[in-house]
C-alpha cells in the first residue's frame, strides 16, 4: 500500500517550532506516512567531555549544569556523587534533605515544561502558557535559595553551598499549594478532552521487553508496566527516609507516558512536603580540601540519578591530581532520541513526529553534550 504513494524526503530541521530543542530529522515519506527516519544531532555540541578534562574538580561544577537545560540539578548531583564516592566523603543529613528538595523541585519544573511541550505539539497552546507560568514560581524559589534561576551551581562535592534562608520553607509550601490547586485544572483541560484521546491513545506503543532491549528508561519505561525507579533501587540523597509511590501504567502508549508525568508531579509535591517538615539540623558540607588544591585519589565510579527524563549517569575516572582524567556523561536521550525514535517512527503520520518526540521527552542537549 505504501509503495503507491509519492516519495518525498524532507528535513524536519533544527529550526522548526515543533521540535523540542535543536535537533534535526531527515524523513523519507511515502505520501503522508514516514517510511524511514534518520536523526541528525550535533547542533548543540559544546565538547563538554573534553572540556571537563581541562578544568579542576571544583571548576567543573560551574560547567556541568549546562548539559541539560530543563533539569540542570541532576548533573551537579551525579557529578558530586561520583566524586564523593571516589574520595570517600560522607555527606551530612541536612545537606541530603536540601539536595532532595532541589532535585524534586527541578523534576516538577521539567515535567511541567514537558507537559507543555506535548500540549503544544497537539495544538493546544493554552497548556504551555499555563505550565510555563506556573514554572516561573519555582524558578523564583530557586533564585531565593541559590542566586540563579536556571543554573544553580549549588550542589557540589561535599554537600551544598549555602544554608536555606529562614522564610524559604514557608514560601515552598505556598508554591506547592498553588501548583496542587492548578493540577485538576490541567487535568480537565487536557486529559478530559476527546482531542487528546484521539491523538495520543495507541500512539507509538511498545512493550516492556522491547523497551528494556532498546535502553528505554525513566517515565517511558514505567508507562509500560515495570515498576522500576532508581530512587528505590539504588537510593541516594534522602530518599530512603521518605515515603513515596512509584507511578506505573500498563498501556505503554503516548497517553500512558503523559499520564505518568502528570501523576509524578503530584508525587513530587508530597515528597517535598515531607522533606521540608523533617529537615534535620546540622552541617551543610563535609570537610573538603580547598578549591584550588582539590586532589582526588585514583579510582573510578559510575553514579546514577533518576532525572525527569530517565536514567542519568556520570562515569568519572581519576588518576590522582588536580584534573579529571575522563568524565563520561550518559544522558537518557542518547538512547531515546536516536535509536528508539528511528525504530518507532516508521508507519506514523508526519504530523505525529513532533508528538512522539514530545511524549518520549527527548532533550537534545544531552545527546550532543
Amino acid at each position: 500500500m505504501m509503495d503507491d504513494f509519492k516519495v518525498t524526503e524532507i528535513i524536519f530541521g533544527p529550526q522548526h517550532p515543533g521540535i523540542h530543542g535543536n535537533f534535526g530529522t531527515r524523513l523519507e515519506l511515502r505520501g503522508d506516512l514516514v517510511y524511514r527516519a534518520r536523526m541528525v544531532p550535533g547542533y548543540l555540541h559544546r565538547a563538554f567531555e573534553k572540556l571537563m578534562e581541562q578544568r579542576t574538580w571544583m571548576q567543573n561544577v560551574a560547567i556541568v549544569p549546562r548539559i541539560c537545560v530543563p533539569d540542570p540539578d541532576v548533573n551537579e548531583m551525579a557529578y558530586s556523587m561520583a566524586v564523593e564516592n571516589i574520595m570517600g566523603l560522607e555527606v551530612p543529613d541536612r545537606a541530603n534533605y536540601i539536595r532532595t528538595i532541589i532535585l524534586e523541585l527541578s523534576r516538577i519544573s521539567a515535567h511541567l515544561m514537558g507537559l507543555g511541550g506535548i500540549g503544544g505539539a497537539i495544538g493546544l497552546y493554552t497548556l504551555p502558557m499555563w505550565t510555563n507560568g506556573d514554572r516561573d514560581y519555582i524558578l523564583d524559589l530557586f533564585e531565593e535559595l541559590t542566586g540563579g534561576r536556571v543554573y544553580h551551581i549549588f550542589i557540589w562535592p561535599g554537600g551544598v553551598r549555602w544554608d536555606i534562608p529562614d522564610n524559604w520553607p514557608r514560601k515552598v509550601n505556598k508554591v506547592l499549594d498553588h501548583i496542587e490547586a492548578r493540577l485538576p485544572e490541567y487535568y480537565s483541560l487536557f486529559f478530559e478532552s476527546k482531542v487528546t484521546d484521539a491523538r495520543l491513545k495507541g500512539l507509538a506503543r511498545f512493550d516492556s521487553r522491547w523497551a528494556v532491549d532498546h535502553g528505554v528508561t525513566g517515565p517511558n519505561l514505567r508507562a509500560t508496566g515495570l515498576e522500576v525507579d532508581i530512587r528505590r533501587m539504588e537510593p541516594y540523597a534522602a530518599y530512603e527516609d521518605i515515603d513515596f509511590k512509584v507511578i506505573t501504567r500498563k498501556e505503554g502508549d503516548g497517553l500512558a507516558r503523559t499520564l505518568v508525568r502528570w501523576y509524578e508531579v503530584r508525587e513530587s509535591i508530597r515528597i517535598i512536603r515531607q522533606a521540608v517538615e523533617d529537615m534535620p539540623s546540622g552541617e551543610i558540607r563535609a570537610k573538603t580540601p580547598p578549591p584550588l588544591a582539590f586532589m582526588v585519589p585514583p579510582g573510578d565510579h559510575f553514579a546514577r540519578v533518576e532525572s525527569s527524563k530517565g536514567e542519568y549517569g556520570y562515569y568519572v575516572v581519576s588518576k590522582g591530581g588536580k584534573f579529571p582524567y575522563r568524565v563520561h556523561v550518559r544522558g537518557p536521550s542518547f538512547t531515546h532520541g536516536i535509536d528508539v525514535l528511528e525504530q518507532i517512527l516508521p508507519g506514523n503520520e508526519i504530523s505525529d513526529v513532533a508528538l512522539i518526540t514530545g511524549t518520549l521527552d527527548v532533550c537534545p542537549p544531552d545527546i550532543d553534550r
Binding site: N60, G133, E143, T146, G147, S188, L292
Partner: protein, 169 residues
C-alpha cells in the same frame, strides 16, 4: 461511552475560558516590580549579578583569576595605580560566583543588579569598581550605564561616567 459522558468531555475543557476575566500573569519588567509568590521583591540579595570590587580591601592576590572556570578574569595594571586589579570580561563570565567565594578579603562581590546596557561591546570588558551602597540601589530597576571609579588624592573614590582607563601594556 454514553451520551452524557461524550457531552461532558467535549464541554469540560471550555471551563478554561474563565481565565479570560482575570488579571494576566505577565509582569512587565522594568515598568512593574517583579515579586515572588508572597509579594517580596525580586531579585534578592543572593542573586549573582554584576561585579563590584572594593579597591581599599583588594590585595591583588589573583585567586579570583585562578578559580574562574570560564577564563574571564585577568589581572591588569592601570596607569597611576600601584597594584594590579581584576578585569572581568562578560563575554565569558557565567556568573557562578566562585570568584566571590574564594576572595580572601571579601572585596569582590556579585550584586543583585542584572541590567547592563551599552551600545558598544568594549564596555563589557571592564574593571569592577569600588563598592558604593547607594549607587547600587539606585540602579536596580532602570537600565544602568557602566561607570568607572577613580581614587582621588584624599583617598575617596570618584565615579566617572564613561571615562576610559588606560591599561599598561
Amino acid at each position: 461511552m454514553n451520551m452524557s459522558n461524550v457531552v461532558k468531555r467535549t464541554v469540560r475543557p471550555f471551563r478554561a475560558l474563565k481565565f479570560l476575566g482575570r488579571k494576566p500573569h505577565t509582569v512587565r519588567i522594568p515598568h512593574e516590580q517583579h515579586n515572588d509568590i508572597e509579594g517580596d521583591p525580586l531579585p534578592t540579595e543572593r542573586y549573582r549579578g554584576v561585579h563590584v570590587n572594593n579597591w581599599d580591601e583588594c590585595i591583588s592576590c589573583g585567586l579570583c583569576a585562578m578559580v574562574c572556570p570560564c577564563d574571564a578574569i585577568e589581572m591588569v595594571q592601570i596607569e597611576g595605580e600601584a597594584k594590579v586589579r581584576p578585569e572581568v570580561s562578560y563575554g565569558r563570565c557565567c556568573f557562578c560566583g566562585f570568584c566571590e567565594d574564594v576572595c580572601p578579603k571579601d572585596s569582590l562581590h556579585l550584586t543583585s543588579n542584572h541590567t547592563m546596557l551599552d551600545t558598544s561591546y568594549d564596555t563589557f570588558v571592564f574593571l569592577p569598581t569600588p563598592m558604593l551602597r547607594e549607587f547600587e540601589k539606585e540602579y536596580r530597576v532602570e537600565p544602568a550605564l557602566l561607570c568607572r571609579a577613580r581614587k582621588k588624592d584624599d583617598g575617596k573614590a570618584e565615579i566617572i561616567v564613561g571615562d576610559p582607563y588606560r591599561k599598561v601594556e
